[in-house]
Amino acid sequence: MNPNLLWLIPLLPFAGFLLNGTLGRRLPRAAVTSIALLFTLLPALIVCDLWLYFKAAAAPLSLAVQSHPWIAITGFQVNFAFTVDHLTLVMLSVVTGVGFLIHIYSAGYMAHEDGYWRFFAYLNLFMFFMLVLVLSSSFLLLFVGWEGVGLASYLLIGFYFGRDSAANAGKKAFVVNRIGDFGFLLAMFLLIAHFGTLSFDQVFSALAAQPALHGGFLTAICLLLVVGAAGKSAQIPLYIWLPDAMEGPTPVSALIHAATMVTAGIYMVARCHSLFDRSPFALAVVACIGAATALMSATIGLVQHDIKRVLAYSTVSQLGYMFLACGVGAYSAGIFHLMTHAFFKALLFLSAGSVIHALSGEQDMRVMGGLRKRIPVTFWCMTAGVFAIAGMPFFSGFFSKDEILYQVFTSHAPGAKLLWLIGVTTALLTSFYMFRLWFKTFFGAPRFDERSLAAGHGAHDDHNKAAEAEHDSGQAAHAHGVHESPAVMTVPLTVLALLSVIGGFVGVPIAFGGHNEFEHFLDPVFTAYGAGQSLAEPSAPASTALTLTAIAVTCFLLGLLAAYMLYVRNPGRAGHLAQQFQPVYTVLDRKYWVDQVYDALIVTPLLVLSRGLLGGLIDTGVIQGTGGAAGGLTCGLGGLARRIQSGNLRSYAGWIAAGAAVLIAVVLFGLHPHF
């Protein structure tokens, strides 16, 4: 195939952004939709073409294009250049495929919103940057996509900008991401200082040429990259922006904050595996961050009531799994989970959107219930997603999560067994809170009031007026009462549900009689620059794999059972438990007070410092004051000198006499300065 087609993959969505961004306001909605969909469908087709090409060519290969320099100074140059290898191909498929489905869904979900054109323009802009991110062949171009998706995320979170909470969440997301970017930038500066280039190929080749190089500045670079990845992929300590990002419309949460953008950090770590393989310490940090994030956010997810927030914390938790996989050197397992997670989490968010749509904007699970019969398509799709994420055997999430846990258990990383234990605990919690969501939403007695739902529609017509509305109001004004979503929304749901169910079969492990094709497919990428010392045990006995699987399935069943007991058999029980364990419940409910602690320890002191010390004392006091004092001194001296010029002849005579006297004294008494 013609490699120049690669340029079109990101540029087409960009063209869509430009068209809708400039003309969209004047175009009818149908035209806006067609533009947005067409310009995301075409890249997806090109990616299909790429697959055919890669399948036809037997040998592992990659495709590259390069254009004129972007930055060129003596001694340093960066070009616009794209590369496709097997890893990129997987990412491209996820981004364009899931992205296109979500675009279709959005056409239905956003149909009655103001700023329809704006929404699709931003969505296409996001696709552009995300595709640049995965296609780039250098750190710097990756950073373009990296910051760009942050921008698109900022614009989309703040889509309902009339709402203060949305505007704040957008700003928070951008600034927290910038903290991550700060680390990324420093990593790039160190790379330039040590390698003189930012091209992946050149850096990794240089690294491969120095097999003895370990730790040292490489650890510094890796840790700084981890800061960047933690910002983008919402890991401890920078995960705080993601739950707030749920202020955006639900399709945005599905596309950006679940399926694609937040996985950029995992992609980056996998892409830089050559660096990380040389720094066991950085890898250990990645693993610990991943495990801690997975556990912590899963516990918070246990007690949330907002359906989207449960999913948000679950996303953070699943991203933690992927980090954990990368941290033990099992990059393909991480990418595998990234892919299946994109399927089932996009599905879960879109189904949740469909539920919210059905309930005219209601997001609180406490007032849902009994929706199983009312919105059957959504119910069945959601069921597929819930079973996939909870680890129902032979669903996609089962295979990928199992692979990660297996790799962690058998790795040589320090504390591998402890990390595995955390992973299994998280799996149990995940199963529990996902079934909690499922039962509370679809089972039991309806807890909503249909009449108030119908009446509520009018208030959501105008988002500027509905600024007080607490919840995402992406729902239709045409509907009355609970209703199933239109086909334009349910068809993408069905496709994603199918993928969530069968998507795992590309990576059936050997212990199950499969060939782990996914891992073999990615192998060329992770061995391209010489295999690093692999942390994963190559040949654990099959019985270990089966035992671990049995444990994971037990966790799944236990979670299901516990949720069933608490929310279906005995609905009042959960409240009692919360009462009984009041302190624990409060800690979880308040999300460990992390936001408050950051506020108190970082944000407030910084503002006080800026306002009081820097702005007040130093700037107004010292710097302006010195200028003022100098000015005052000049004025004062001028005032004194003015006295001399009094216009009084006698005083002039006096000054002359005094001056003469001084001169005479100097001459007479030999004060001889060195003239």
Binding site: R25, H68, P69, W70, I71, A72, I73, T74, G75, F76, L140, F143, V144, E147, G148, L151, Y154, G158, F161, G162, R163, D164, A167, N168, G170, K171, F174, V175, R178, I179, D181, F182, L185, L186, M188, F189, L190, I192, A193, N464, A467, L606, L607, L609, S610, R611, L614, G615, D619, V622, I623, Q624, T626, G627, A630, G631, T634, P673, H674, F675
Partner: protein, 549 residues
């Protein structure tokens, strides 16, 4: 006819003649005569400046181009010598571009005394172009002083509040007092070398023939540096900046900060005092990094839009100062490129703030809110400008900041990593204050002022002001080599090549702080013998001369 040798004089004289013509035009109430005439003059000037990039040669050893060197006064030997190189060429074009935009930005805001305003504005442009092209120190100093007067008058006459006179005096004193010392330093240089000619001085400096007296050289270099640093302004010499920016009309603010001082540092401090500049570099790198964070943090807590913009300007020019004093190719190239970016971004930001003020009559953010729905185009330009200012990749600000900071990481200066890290943290704070601005003005609930006043989205004239800037942000961010090709010729000449810089020549000054055994081994090869001998404790010549008169 070959324009090449006359083009700079033409560029210089067009606004000068224009100012003369404008002064003679009669002033009538309500008529836009002066606006139109000023626009015509500035557009013509801009057109002429475009000759430079199209005929510029980016060969490494091209030296000064388009030069014209005519005798003016035989004794003391003062010549009319003008020319540009990779450093100044784009700055001249930039000055040409900003002037018509400034006239457009003043279209409505300047109603009374339009004649005074535009005559002063054009004179200011003459002074700036003169500073960028003068290659004779005396000529340069003339333009340097000339640049003060119209600006001070513009602030004092057309300032926004009652505070304008104070701000004008402050601006004038801050700039004038160091300039007086600069004059002393220039005269001393002339006394030592007998020439005002910049290329000659640069050659002398490279060969260490300016003066054997190191203390005097140091004092002289400091006089240069301080005069320029105040003008930049470099932290902590920025006391005048926020007052002047708050008062000055939009068109004047657009050309107020950054360019002149930083250009002068690059041209004169680096050209005539290469060693001294390198030795003081660690201090300036530190001040630059501090200034970045300091300006950004104060901008973060401002309620006044213009004050916010003033401190963000401080933060941005500190980036450039940090870059150029790293003496790396990346740092210097990035610094000069960022100088262009900062001017364009600052211009766009001040134009945009002016738009709000023209509509609602306040710069207080607390009065605003929820304007996005009312001004969709305005918010678009605000967002684009903010993104360029915070250095989003694919915008011009990113290329400059990235090169500067990567240069800082490679710099020879001690503790450079710490300062590079501190400077890089500026990218977090800049995002914070720019997004805060956008949020407080455009998002959320409608503030009380927009309820009282009827707003309108951008007019055709305003589109005309902003589109060229927005397009440049993107083009300069995507095709930076077009600009850096010329800048690079200057950057490579200034920057240290690997191993070429050792603090050899000043060893006797700083033995304790810069011990370098390798340096002393090379001592004989590098140092002019007379210099070494003479540096052993002669009295400083400046003191001599001062006492004699």
């Amino acid at each position: 006819m070959n324009l090449d040798h006359a083009i700079l004089t033409i560029i210089l004289c067009t606004p000068l003649l224009g100012a003369g013509v404008l002064a003679l035009l009669p002033e009538r109430d309500g008529a836009k005569t002066h606006h139109i005439a000023a626009l015509a003059v500035t557009l013509l000037t801009f057109l002429f400046t475009l000759h430079l990039p199209s005929h510029f040669s980016a060969a490494t050893n091209a030296g000064f181009q388009f030069d014209q060197n005519l005798p003016w006064i035989p004794s003391p030997s003062i010549r009319y010598h003008v020319g540009v190189d990779g450093l100044s060429m784009w700055l001249v074009v930039l000055t040409g571009l900003l002037a018509p935009l400034g006239v457009l930005a003043s279209w409505h805001s300047i109603r009374a005394r339009a004649k005074t305003f535009f005559v002063l504005f054009l004179l200011q442009q003459v002074a700036m172009i003169g500073i960028f092209i003068a290659l004779d120190l005396f000529l340069y100093y003339g333009f340097w002083e000339l640049s003060l007067v119209p600006m001070a008058l513009l602030i004092a006459t057309f300032g926004r509040t009652e505070n304008r006179r104070r701000a004008a005096i402050k601006f004038f004193l801050y700039a004038f007092i160091p300039s007086a010392i600069l004059l002393v330093a220039i005269v001393w240089l002339y006394a030592r070398t007998g020439t005002f000619d910049m290329p000659t001085l640069q050659a002398l400096a490279a060969a260490h023939h300016i003066s054997p007296n190191n203390h005097a050289l140091w004092l002289c270099s400091l006089a240069f540096l301080v005069a320029f640093a105040v003008k930049v302004p470099i932290f902590p010499l920025h006391g005048w900046l926020s007052d002047a920016i708050q008062e000055a009309p939009t068109a004047a603010v657009m050309v107020l900060a950054g360019k002149l001082g930083l250009y002068s540092i690059l041209r004169f401090s680096f050209g005539i005092f290469p060693e001294q500049s390198r030795h003081i570099a660690p201090l300036l790198i530190a001040l630059g990094a501090i200034g970045i964070v300091y300006g950004a943090l104060i901008a973060l807590v401002q309620n006044d839009l213009k004050k916010l913009a003033a401190f963000s300007t401080l933060s941005h020019v500190s980036f450039i100062a940090l870059g150029i004093f790293t003496f790396t190719v990346a740092g210097v190239d990035g610094g000069v490129f960022q100088l262009l970016n900062e001017s364009l971004i600052g211009a766009a930001l001040f134009i945009l703030l002016g738009l709000l003020y023209e509509r609602y009559g306040t710069y207080d953010m607390r009065d605003y809110g929820g304007l996005a729905a009312r001004h969709p185009w305005m918010i678009t330009f605000y967002v684009i400008t903010s993104l360029a200012a915070v250095g989003l990749p694919m915008m011009n600000g990113f290329v400059g900041e990235f090169l500067i900071l990567s240069g800082a990481m490679q710099s020879f200066a001690r503790h450079h990593i710490a300062w590079a890290v501190l400077g890089t943290s500026g990218v977090i704070f800049s995002a914070a204050y720019m997004l805060t601005l956008i949020q407080r003005v455009f998002y959320g609930k409608t503030g009380y002022r927009p309820d009282e006043v009827q707003g309108w989205d951008l007019t055709g004239r305003e589109h005309l002001e902003l589109w060229p800037l927005a397009a440049l942000f993107l083009v300069m961010g995507l095709a930076s080599p077009y600009w850096t090709r010329a800048i690079d010729t200057f950057g490579t000449a200034v920057a240290d090549r690997p191993q070429s810089f050792e603090p050899v020549h000043l060893k006797h000054m700083e033995t304790e702080t810069y011990p370098s055994p390798r340096a002393s081994a090379q001592h004989g090869a590098f140092v002019d013998p007379t210099l070494a001998a003479a540096a052993q404790g002669q009295p400083a010549p400046t003191t001599d001369k001062g006492a004699k008169y």
